[in-house]
Amino acid sequence: MTKIIEIRGLTKTFGDVLGVDDISLDIEEGEFVTLLGPSGCGKSTLLRMIGGFEEPTRGHIALDGEDVTHVPPSKRAVNMVFQDYALFPHLSVGKNVGYGLRVSGVRRSEVISRAREALSLVGLEDRYDASPHMLSGGQRQRVALARAIVRRPRVLLLDEPLSALDANLREQMQIELKNLHTKVGLTFVLVTHDQTEALTMSDRVVVMREGKIVQIGTPQDLYENPQTGYVAGFVGSTNMFRSRVEVGASGPQISCFGQNLQAPAAASALGGRDTLFGFRPEKATLLRGDAQAQNTLRGHLSDVLYHGQSARLVMDLVSGQVVVDMPITDVIGTVGLPQVGSAIAISIEPHKIMILRDEAAS
């Protein structure tokens, strides 16, 4: 594996606004990396600096080992798919795709054949002569992709490429994008604020907040081991609670909204300290009938949200609420969905409880 992008201490300020705050990041060749974060956290600014559209205030960007910090976009072996696609309205689909070759003086016949090739890669070879305004949103998206890969860039940048599509099409395009990534073997850097999109497509996800990186990891890593409450809440949903860790003879003990729980062994090191804990809604199990289990929470069912293949149970505890996801077969079992208002119990194994760090910002 070779590093294709090296970012060091990259900072961008707009007046008093800190768009990107001292970010360092390495991206490997062929990787699919996603920048994930809420609106205004600096994802686009970071991407635009990689593309050369924004001049960094401080810091460096190297592409393939070469410093490109002050190289204009036209001279970087990086191409971008814009959020609004930015197709040239006065040119046909084929001419849009061939544009990057035409301006760099490639022979006409080769421009046409390579544009056709790129279009067929996205399944639009028969729309070569169409005008962009005649295409659907998903087709425009594909043309923008074909146009960006026709020059065989080293890195493809995508700024929320799917946000303008409706939900069904978005899911389909996620798969197509992932396939395209495998097919062309380019490095993809994608920006999104949609965590499902990030988890589905990426090799690695970079979670950002207020111009800084808060965690980098594989989708599984981020989901299973979020390091902070912010990541736990942003990537998937998490029941979070704060508790002092009491280390006793039977290991570390914590309290979840007034009920005692066995904490994971690693919590011993935090003895006596006030700490943030969390568990994923699907990691807990609902106890039916008079089944007994370790580490239980008892409460009343305050709501049931039916999701088709699963159901989310909202459980009232003494001083708070937790939610638990159950596969629908489990919830119904032989006795049907539990009644709202009835007493229920869930159990959570200690090692499924996550120890979360507080971040400075919250």
Partner: protein
């Protein structure tokens, strides 16, 4: 029986009222069109009148005035001067105005707001002020009064028109188009000629036609800056002091004909093949 009769008479009455209403609308529209076009129609008609006096009905038809026109060297020279001035001034404003509009649209620089207001301000200045101030400037710089001075004067006065129109169009053009072009390896010039210009084409043509027309019949600025050369409006104006001649009607008719050709040409040029929306 009686009720039925009453009813039908009422509908008859409302039909009648509706007719009146439609008629008055029609008359109104005719009056507006007449107001706009009657003077031109009169001009055209009298240009074919075989008598010098402007009396109605005309005594007969003739092409004499057109023939006289073709022998009036002064007038023909004035016409050429006007075309020369208008074409040059229009080209000059477009060459300066389009890059200025792009700079205003794309770049942030200190004092941008002020710069924009300063560029747009001359629109509100009366031509006579522009004329006098240009005269003073040219005199103090030692330039001769000439058609070239008129061209510079017109170009200055028209710059705000061109910048305003082109800038307004650029504002509606997504910045991402130029960015995408640069991203795909195009140089600044390539981006301008292959992407920006085709997308602001209609505004550029519109601005150019407007500038041409304004320059072609401009008098105040021309009056101060032209030396011995005459432009067509100046010539017409000066001959008018000796009375309205049918020759003037003839040249007026020719200008109307030329305008019609120009209007058709612009409609053809502006017809948008792609019906381009921003995609």
């Amino acid at each position: 029986m009686t009720t039925q009769f009453a009813k039908s008479s009422r509908t008859g009455r409302s039909n009648w009222l509706g007719g009146i209403e439609r008629l008055s609308w029609m008359l109104g529209i005719l009056a507006i069109l007449g107001f706009l076009y009657l003077p031109i129609a009169v001009l055209v008609a009298y240009s074919f009148n075989d008598s010098r006096s402007l009396t109605w009905p005309m005594s007969g038809l003739t092409l004499d005035w057109y023939q006289k026109l073709s022998q009036n060297d002064q007038l023909i020279q004035a016409f050429y001067n006007s075309v020369y001035v208008a074409v040059s001034a229009t080209s000059l404003t477009l060459i300066i105005g389009i890059p200025a509009a792009i700079a205003l649209d794309r770049f942030d620089f200190p004092g941008k707001g002020l710069f924009r207001k300063l560029i747009l301000l001359p629109i509100a200045l009366p031509g006579i002020i522009t004329g006098i101030s240009m005269l003073i400037l040219f005199r103090s710089l030692g330039f001769n009064l000439s058609l070239q001075a008129v061209i510079v004067g017109h170009a200055t006065a028209l710059l705000s028109v061109v910048v305003t129109l082109v800038y307004a169009r650029l504002q509606r053009l997504p910045a991402s188009l130029a960015e995408a072009s640069a991203d795909l390896g195009a140089s600044g010039l390539q981006t301008f000629f292959l992407i920006t210009l085709p997308n602001i084409r209609t505004a550029v043509i519109g601005a150019g036609m407007l500038a041409f027309t304004l320059s072609f019949d401009e008098i105040p600025v021309t009056f101060f800056l032209t030396g011995r050369d005459n432009t067509l409006p100046m010539y017409i104006w000066s001959t008018l002091r000796r009375g309205l001649t049918p020759e003037i009607n003839a040249i007026g008719t020719l200008i109307v004909a030329m305008s019609i050709v120009l209007i058709f040409a612009s409609v053809l040029l502006l017809r948008d093949k792609t019906k381009s929306k921003n995609v």
